[in-house]
Amino acid sequence: MNRERSHGSIQTSRAIIVMTLLFIVGFASGYYTDTLFSSQTVVWKEDVAWRTESISISGSTTVLPIANACAIAFMNKYPGTSITVTGGGSGRGYSEVIDGVVDIGMASRPPKQKEINDAKEKGVALWLYPIALDAVCVVVHPSVNKTLKLTLQEVGKIFAGIYTRWSDVDPSLPDEPIYVVVREPGSGTRGTFEEYVMEPYGYDVTDAAHVRPSNPAVRTTIETTPYSIGYVGLGFVTSKMVVVALAEEEGEPYIYPSIENIASFKYPISRYLYLVTSTRPESGSLADRFIDFILSPEGQEIVEEQGFLKLPRYPAGV
């Protein structure tokens, strides 16, 4: 028995040693990497407070690539600062800013009345900072037509399910069912699209619409699905899809979402992308500097890299 016992306890101790080693290795590697990150820290002569601050950002998945890339660039430029970015959607961006969960929200649409009311109730004001210009581009699979032109109302009818076959829209188009792709409710892209295309005509999105959680997901679906139609932000248009030229009404000119047309707001579904704060950030604070960074030429360069349009000028807080 005695032998068995000692045998047993050797095994426990070995198991415990292994577990402890695992823990030590895990956490040690953590500390090691931590020192890696902070090793570039230089002592700054002035104005040090903001360099050790941290802020958090959440919201629209459309703005997410911009915020992600800008946060990485900013943190690389100013070691010591910490910017935490996560997605969610425009709705989450507004609600978390109002609740004070995050410092900055991301939104691809202006606040809804309900969100403004909520903010008032909580006694905060919403500060919107346009950081980029975007267009919601209506796109179709090349199998539909290489140069498609539609009025807003026709697009609305397609997304409302009133037209179910392409030949319903125009007899010259193929006699095939329309595959409608939309974004999830709460998405700013969807909000913007519906505001211009559906709501003016009192249309509601058809039940048969295929829901996708993000611009890339819509892009992939359109690229791979014949006779499909959907909408994506300008940055997600690729050569494997056809961009539709839109007219406000029958008889008006059909306009492509070219850079000039978006910047001059001729293209009907142009929009700003925003960062949102609940108070005006204190001058010189990290939040203030980060917003300034995105609006600086360097930040606007990143905006362009991510497939969006630079702001025509640098507007201040709205």
């Binding site: 028995m1 426990t12 990150f37 902070s38 997410l64 935490t84 969960v101 890339p216």
Partner: protein, 280 residues
Amino acid sequence: MSGQTGEKVIFAILGVPMLICILIFLWILSLLLTGIGTVRWELFTMSALRGGMLEMIVGTIYLLLGAAAVAGPIGVLAAIYLVEYAPSGGLTRIIDQAINNLAGVPSIVIGLFGYTFFCRHLGLGVSLAAGWLTLALMMLPIVIRGSEEALRMVPASFREAALALGATRWKAISSTILPAAAPGVVTSVILGMARVAGETAAILFTSCVLITRGLPKTPFEPVMALSYNLFVQIVALGAPAQRVFGITLVLFMIVTSLSLSAILLRSYYRLRQPWLRMKG
């Protein structure tokens, strides 16, 4: 003789599904391997701020170790109670049922619960700690069941010998049965970690962010994790294949090495411990 050919036909029919399983595995493996060529290995040791994935790897390890630290002790103690103390009454049956049901709760529901209870009700917010607790809930049934099995494998004579020497019940358990079952217990914890390492739905709302600087310094800060990052990279950012394959590969390696080490540990101790060999 004709009976034997008939049997061969049946076996062949039964064998086809296994071949299909193996082909599926090889197919998936080949898909992953075609991605390897595009992966730059230095990504693994580079900070996310420089385009690497070091924080995600370490963050995943943080999440796993923390969850194991929560679920491990609770699970082992629960297993000891169930094997050694539990009266065979209604209460024990309820506990048994609850463990089975907990194992079956969809991870998205665990995520929802974690979000309302840990993040909002307990005020932990989106944080490492909330992730630990949420993942621990998923690990717990695996740890309990695995430890129970390990404890039951230990011959009764061990404990009886200790009791006969005048040890108290707890002393008998902690000095004889627990050491003998320790490898099995550790295996169950590792298996639990393997099960939750690739988990996305449970940490989607509770503990992860896309980018932040470095690693959390307190448990109340959010963390970057491979599975969540992979999800966002694919779904929301439409990241290039190279990035996706890189993260996929690391995640696969972590999960696989955990499962493999559990399998190896189990078979190693099967060989080492004679009483296990008899039963196994």
